[in-house]
Symmetry: C2
C-alpha cells in the first residue's frame, strides 16, 4: 500500500491502552522514527492526569525522533467513543467520561487529530500493513483480557449508526451462559476471554490439578497471564490445555458467525491469547469454522494471525490520520 | 425515494420462491401494472421445467399489463447464488444446480437481468419503499419456514467475498443446540424457524395439550402453518404461545447479536411468522434486544415490521434492475 503523505510530512500514532500508552512519530512512509511507552497510570503518589501523561508521552516520542514538525495525530483508544467527534464516552480505567480527547490533543499540538476505537485501529493497521492488505472485506478479532473486534467492509472500517459497531466480544453464543462484565449472559467474552480462562485455570490450580500454574501464578486471576498459561501447556498440563482449547473453540464459533453474517475474505486473529498460543488458536478456530460456518461462505476464507504485534494500533492510527489529511477533512 | 427510470420505461420484478413464483410488470414509478402468480411446481403429470414455467409466468404478467416494452428484469431467487453472474448455485426444490438463470431470461427477453438472493431483494425492497428508507444501515430478518437475512451498509446490500453474506439463520446462538437443516447445530434456524416451532407444537398436540392445533392441523409438521399457530394462540392455547414466545426471543437474540456486530439504525422483521404474529414478535424481539444488545449500540435503533408483505421481493427486484440500468452496467 503506497504512501499518501508527502516527503517531509510526519505524523504521530498513539495507542492508549488500559495498562500501557505508546506514542510513535512516523515519517511519510510510515516508518517509526521515535517512540515512547509507559504504564497508563502513574505510580501511586504521583498526581498526573491521564491527558497530561499522554501529552508527555507524545512529546517524548517526538523528541526521540528528533522533534520533526508533525501534520496530525492518529489515536486508538478504548471505547465506547464517538469517532466523528473524538469524544471518549466512557473509559473507567483512565477516569474518562464524555472526555474530548481529540480536541485536547489538537489544542495542545495545533494539528488535526483522529480518534477511533483501539481494536478498530489495530484491525485497520493489520489491513493496511499486514497479511491481508489486498482483501476488501476482513474481520479482526482480538481475544485477550476482553475480546474486541474490527470489521472492514469495502475497504472501510464499519462504524454503523452508533459509531461503535464491531462489539464481537458481546455476541451471545450460549443462551443462559455465564455472566459477562457487560451485565449480559452468554457473551463470547464471558466464555473465552483471558479472565474466563483464568477462572477455570485458577480452580485447577486450587485443586492441585495445575501445579505449574499454582507455582508460577498462584490462584489470583490477575496473575494468570497469557504467557504463563502457554508455559503451563508446554509443561504438559493437559487440563489447562483443554480449558484453553475450549475457549479457542468458542472464539472460532464467533468467527464462524461472523463468516456466516459478513462473508469476509480474511479473518485476522490477534490479542494476547493468540500471540501466546498461535498454533493452538489457529487449530481450534479452523475446527470451529469448519463445524459452524456454511460451506459456501467459508470456502477460500483465510484465517491468519496478526502480524504487527504491539505496533498494529500506532501504525493503523498513523495511517488513519494520514488519510484524513489526504482527504483534506 | 425518487424514480430512476424515465417515463415510458418498464421493468419486470420477479420473485422465485420455493413454493410460489410471482412476476410483476412495473412502470417507471415502480407502480405494478400487471402480475401473475403460480405454484413453483406444476401439478403431477405436467412435465414443465422450472425455467419454462418462469418464462410463462413473466409473459402472463406482461400480458396482464398490456404488453409494455421492458428495459430489464430483476429477480429475487433462493440462494446460494452468485449475484455477479446470476448463476444459481444450488436450489434442490427447483432442481437447479449451477443454473444460469440470468443468462436464460436475458436470452429469452433480450434485456439485461439482475439476480440476487430473495431475502436480500426483499430487504432491499423494504429499504427502498418501506418504513426505513432514510437509514444508511439496516438489517432485515425474515423468520418463516427458514430464517433469512439481508444487510444494507452505507446504502448498499452486503454481499461479501462469497456473494452470499447475510446467512443470519445459521448464526450459532446455542452451542450444542438442536440440529439444523444445514447439518450444523445450534443455529438460529434450528431454534426459531416455523419448523422448529411446529415440532414443539405437534408434540403438544400429540399429548393433548394443544387441542386447537390437533383439530385444525393434526400432528404433521407440514400442516402446522404460521396462520394456524396464530389462531391457536388467539384460541387461548398457552403452551403454544409459550413455544412461539421462546422462538421469537431466540430471534431477538440474533437481532441483538446483529446490533452488537453491525450497529444498524433499523431492523426490519418480516416473514410468515412475523406477519401472522406481529405484536408477539415485536414484544419478544425488543425484550431480547434489551437483554442481549449493548446499551450504546441499541440506543435509538428502530425495530419495525416489514411493510410490503408479498410485494417486497418484486419491488426490490424492480428497483435493483432499474439501478443497474441507470448505472449503464
Amino acid at each position: 500500500m503506497g504512501s499518501i503523505l508527502r516527503e517531509g510530512d510526519f505524523v504521530v500514532g498513539l495507542d492508549v491502552g488500559g495498562t500501557k500508552i505508546m506514542a510513535t512519530a512516523l515519517d511519510h512512509k510510515f516508518k517509526i522514527l521515535g517512540r515512547s511507552k509507559k504504564r497508563s497510570k502513574s505510580r501511586k503518589g504521583k498526581d498526573e492526569k491521564a491527558e497530561e501523561r499522554i501529552i508527555r508521552i507524545i512529546t517524548e516520542a517526538l523528541k526521540d525522533a528528533g522533534n520533526p514538525p508533525i501534520k496530525g495525530i492518529g489515536v486508538g483508544s478504548p471505547g465506547p467513543l464517538d469517532p466523528k467527534t473524538g469524544v471518549i464516552i466512557d473509559t473507567p480505567n483512565l477516569g474518562w467520561k464524555n472526555f474530548p480527547l481529540a480536541a485536547i490533543l489538537s489544542e495542545q499540538f495545533k494539528v488535526p487529530v483522529v480518534v477511533d476505537n483501539d481494536v478498530n485501529v489495530g484491525t485497520y493497521g493489520e489491513w493496511c500493513f499486514g497479511e491481508v492488505s489486498k482483501c476488501e472485506d476482513i474481520v479482526g478479532i482480538f481475544p485477550g483480557t476482553g475480546i474486541g473486534g474490527g470489521i472492514i467492509i469495502n475497504g472501510k472500517l464499519l462504524h454503523g449508526f452508533s459509531g461503535a459497531a464491531g462489539e464481537v466480544g458481546h455476541m451471545t453464543i450460549e443462551v443462559d451462559g455465564p455472566y459477562c462484565g457487560c451485565g449480559k449472559r452468554g457473551c463470547l467474552e464471558a466464555l473465552a476471554s483471558r479472565i474466563a480462562i483464568a477462572k477455570e485455570v485458577a480452580a485447577l490450580a486450587a485443586r492441585g490439578d495445575a501445579p505449574y500454574i499454582a507455582e508460577h501464578c498462584g490462584t489470583d486471576l490477575a496473575n494468570i497471564r497469557s504467557g504463563e498459561i502457554a508455559e503451563a501447556i508446554k509443561a504438559g498440563e493437559k487440563m489447562v490445555e483443554s480449558v484453553v482449547r475450549k475457549a479457542a473453540f468458542y472464539t472460532g464459533i464467533a468467527v464462524a458467525n461472523l463468516i456466516n453474517i459478513l462473508s469476509p475474505e480474511a479473518v485476522v486473529l490477534g490479542g494476547g491469547l493468540v500471540e501466546a498460543m498461535t498454533d493452538l488458536y489457529l487449530e481450534e478456530v479452523n475446527r470451529a469454522v469448519k463445524e459452524h460456518a456454511m460451506r459456501f461462505l467459508r470456502k477460500g476464507v483465510r484465517i491468519v494471525p496478526a502480524k504487527l504485534g504491539d505496533d498494529a494500533v500506532v501504525l493503523g492510527a498513523a495511517r488513519m490520520i494520514a488519510e484524513r489529511l489526504a482527504d483534506g477533512k
